[in-house]
Amino acid sequence: MPEPETLFEKIWNAHQIDSDDAAGGAPPLLYIDLHLIHEVTSPQAFTELRSRGLKVRRPAHTLATMDHSTPTTPRDASGRIPIVDPMAAAQLEQLEQNCKDFGIPLYSLDSAHQGIVHVIGPELGATQPGMTIVCGDSHTSTHGAFGALAFGIGTSEVADVLATQCLIQRKPATFDVRFEGRLAPGVTAKDMILALIGKIGVGGGTGCVFEYTGEAIRTLDMEGRMTVCNMSIEAGARAGMVAPDDTTFEYIAGRPFAPAGADWDAALERWRALPTDAGAVYDRSVTLDVSELEPVVTYGTNPGMSVGIGARVPMPAGVPDLSERRALEKALAYMGLEPGQPVKGQPVDVVFIGSCTNGRLADLRMAAQVMKGRKVAAGVRMLVVPGSRAIKRQAEAEGLDRVFKAAGAEWREAGCSMCIAMNGDQLEPGQYAVSTSNRNFEGRQGPGGRTFLASPLTAAASAIAGRVADPREVMS
C-alpha cells in the first residue's frame, strides 16, 4: 500500500521536478501548468526577459487578460471603452505589446471573454483539477476551488515562470479546514470564509495550504467554492483548495478549454484519483460548524475584524493584549465607529457588488433576488460590476441588469473596479461602503474610504436600507 496522501501532496508530487535535496540547499523546482498574467504585475517581468534576451518558454501555458486598471465605464458607439488615465492606457498598451512580442494569447478589452483573471480562468475551462496555476496576484487561490494548486507570486517569480515555466518553492504545510453542517437561508459562502478568517486571524494560515472539507463545502456550488478559496490569502494561507467532485466536473464540461471526447474520459479518470486518501494526515486542522452562522460583516481594517450582523463592534478595553488593543483602537478610529455600537444600522454611502470574490453570475443572481422590485435608498450609490464580459452577457440575458437599473444601481463593464480602486471607481474620503470584495484595508477602495466586507445578499439589503442591513430581514 502506498502512503495515503492529501490532495495537495498528490499535485505537488506530480509537479516537483528535482529531488528534495537539490544542490546548495535550493528549494524544490515546481513545474507550472498554467500561468495567468495581467497588466499590473507583468511589465517589469517582461523587461527582465528582454534584458536577458530570453523568450517565453511556453506561451501555450500562458494566458493574459486586462482587469485591474481597466475602466468599467460604458463602451462608446464603436464598442470601445475610452481610457482616460494615460498611465493606465500605457500599461494596457504595454501588455498588448508584450503579448504580441512573446506570442501570448491575450483577452483584451475587445475580447468577448475579457474579465477579471480569476473569473475568466474557470469560465473558459482553463482552470482544471490537478493543475499548478500561478499569477502575479494573491487571489490566485480562487482556482483552488477546482482541486488545483493555485497561488499568487511576485513579479520576479512571474519572470521566472515566463522564462522557465518553473518556480523554486519551499513545500508548504497542509491545513484541513473543515466546515461542518448546513448554511441557514440568507447565509452564504462569503459568510463562511469571513467567519474562518475572524476565527484564525489574518496570519492564521501562514506557511500553509488550506484544504476545505466537510458537508458545508461539498454542498456549495462552484461559485461558492471559488468565493471561499479566493479569500484563503486573507487568512495568510498560500493557497486554498477543494477536492474535485461531480459538481466540479459538471461545471467544467463543455467549456472552451475543457478536454473533449476520449480526452474528457481520460481526464475524469485522473481527476477522480485526486481527492485526499483515507488516513492521510494534515499538519494542522480546524473545524467550524456553520449551522448557527449568521451573515458576517467586517467592522475594521483587515478581513479578520468581523462580527455576526446582529453583534456589536468590540470594545478595545476588553482586549487584554496591548498590541491587539492598539490595533483595534486604530481601526475603529479610521472607520469612525464607536466601541460597542451595533454594526447593523450604520449608514452607508456606496454599495459595491463585484470582484473576483463575488462578481460571478451566482452572486449577481443573489443580489438581484434581494433588489427585485425594490429601490436603492436615496443618497446611496450602488455599482454592480460583473466579473467578466461573459457574465455580463448572461446576466443581461436573464434580465438581471434590468432589476439593478430599475432599482437605481449602476450596471458597469467587467473589471476589478472598486475592489482595488485603480481605474477611477473609488470612494471619497470618509465614505462608507458595503462591498462584496475581499479587502477592507485602509484606503483600499480609495484614500480615506471605509469598507464593510459582506456577502452579495448583505450588500444588496444594505443598498436598499441605506445602512448595514441583515438580508434575512429584507428577504422574509
Binding site: 517589469q44 501555450a60 485603480m422
Partner: protein, 211 residues
C-alpha cells in the same frame, strides 16, 4: 549582492498587520518600471491630500532620516502579492524590516530584492521598541552570514532565513539564472508529462469577437 553586515538606526512603526496596500497604495501601481516607488512608500500615512508631508508620521521626522531598518508591528506585509512593496521599501533606502511575523509572499518578494525580513521573538520586539523610544539614535547591527541582530547591549539575537535565499544574497546568485541552469531537468519533465493545457488552442475568433 547584499552587504553581509551593516549597522543602522531604526525607524519605529508600531502598527500591526501592515498590509501591502499601506506600503504602496494601488494607485501607484500604474507604472511599468520599478523606479520612483520609494517616494510613495506609505503614501497615505506620509502625505496629506495636497501631497504635503504629514507631521507626526515617522518617515517625516528628521530624527529618523537615513535609518535603514524599519521596525514594524506584528505580521508585516499581508495582502497583495505586489512586489512593488519591497521595491518601494528598498527604493526608499531600507535594507531590512524587523517584525515578529511576515506574510509568505511578501517575505519571498523581499528576499528577491535584497531586503531582509528579520523575524524576532516578542520579547526582543518589545525591547527594540522601548530602546528606540528612549533613544531614537539606537542602532543595531545585522550580520547576514551569522544570522544575528546585535542590540546596543551587545546581545546577539539569531534570526531565521531560508538557507538558499541567504546563499543567493551573500554570493550574489541570480535565482532565474539558477532555474535556467536546470534546463535539462525541465526538458526531461516536459518530455514525460503530457501538457495539461494549450492556451493557444481556442480559436482566436472566440477570443477577439466583440459582443
Amino acid at each position: 549582492m547584499t552587504e553581509a553586515t551593516f549597522t543602522s538606526r531604526l525607524v519605529p512603526l508600531p502598527v500591526e498587520n501592515v498590509d501591502t496596500d499601506q506600503i504602496i497604495p494601488a494607485r501607484f501601481l500604474k507604472t511599468v518600471d520599478k523606479a520612483g516607488l520609494g517616494d510613495n512608500l506609505f503614501a497615505d500615512w506620509r502625505y496629506d491630500a495636497g501631497g504635503n508631508p504629514k507631521p507626526g508620521f515617522v518617515l517625516n521626522e528628521p530624527v529618523y532620516r537615513g535609518a535603514q531598518i524599519l521596525l514594524a508591528g506584528n505580521n508585516f506585509g499581508c495582502g497583495s502579492s505586489r512586489e512593488h512593496a519591497p521595491w518601494a521599501l528598498a527604493g526608499y533606502g531600507f535594507k531590512a524590516v524587523i517584525s515578529t511575523h511576515f506574510a509568505d509572499i511578501f517575505r519571498n518578494n523581499a528576499l528577491k530584492n535584497g531586503l531582509l525580513p528579520i523575524v524576532v521573538d516578542e520579547a526582543t520586539h518589545r525591547q527594540l521598541f522601548s530602546l528606540v523610544d528612549e533613544d531614537p539614535a539606537t542602532a543595531v547591527t545585522v550580520d547576514l552570514a551569522a544570522q544575528t541582530l546585535t542590540l546596543p547591549d551587545g546581545r546577539a539575537v539569531e534570526f531565521p532565513i531560508d538557507p538558499f535565499a541567504k546563499h543567493c544574497l551573500l554570493v550574489g546568485v541570480d535565482q532565474l539564472g539558477y532555474i535556467l541552469s536546470l534546463e535539462s531537468e525541465i526538458a526531461a519533465y516536459e518530455a514525460k508529462t503530457p501538457a495539461r493545457i494549450d492556451t493557444t488552442a481556442v480559436s482566436i475568433s472566440i477570443i477577439s469577437i466583440s459582443s
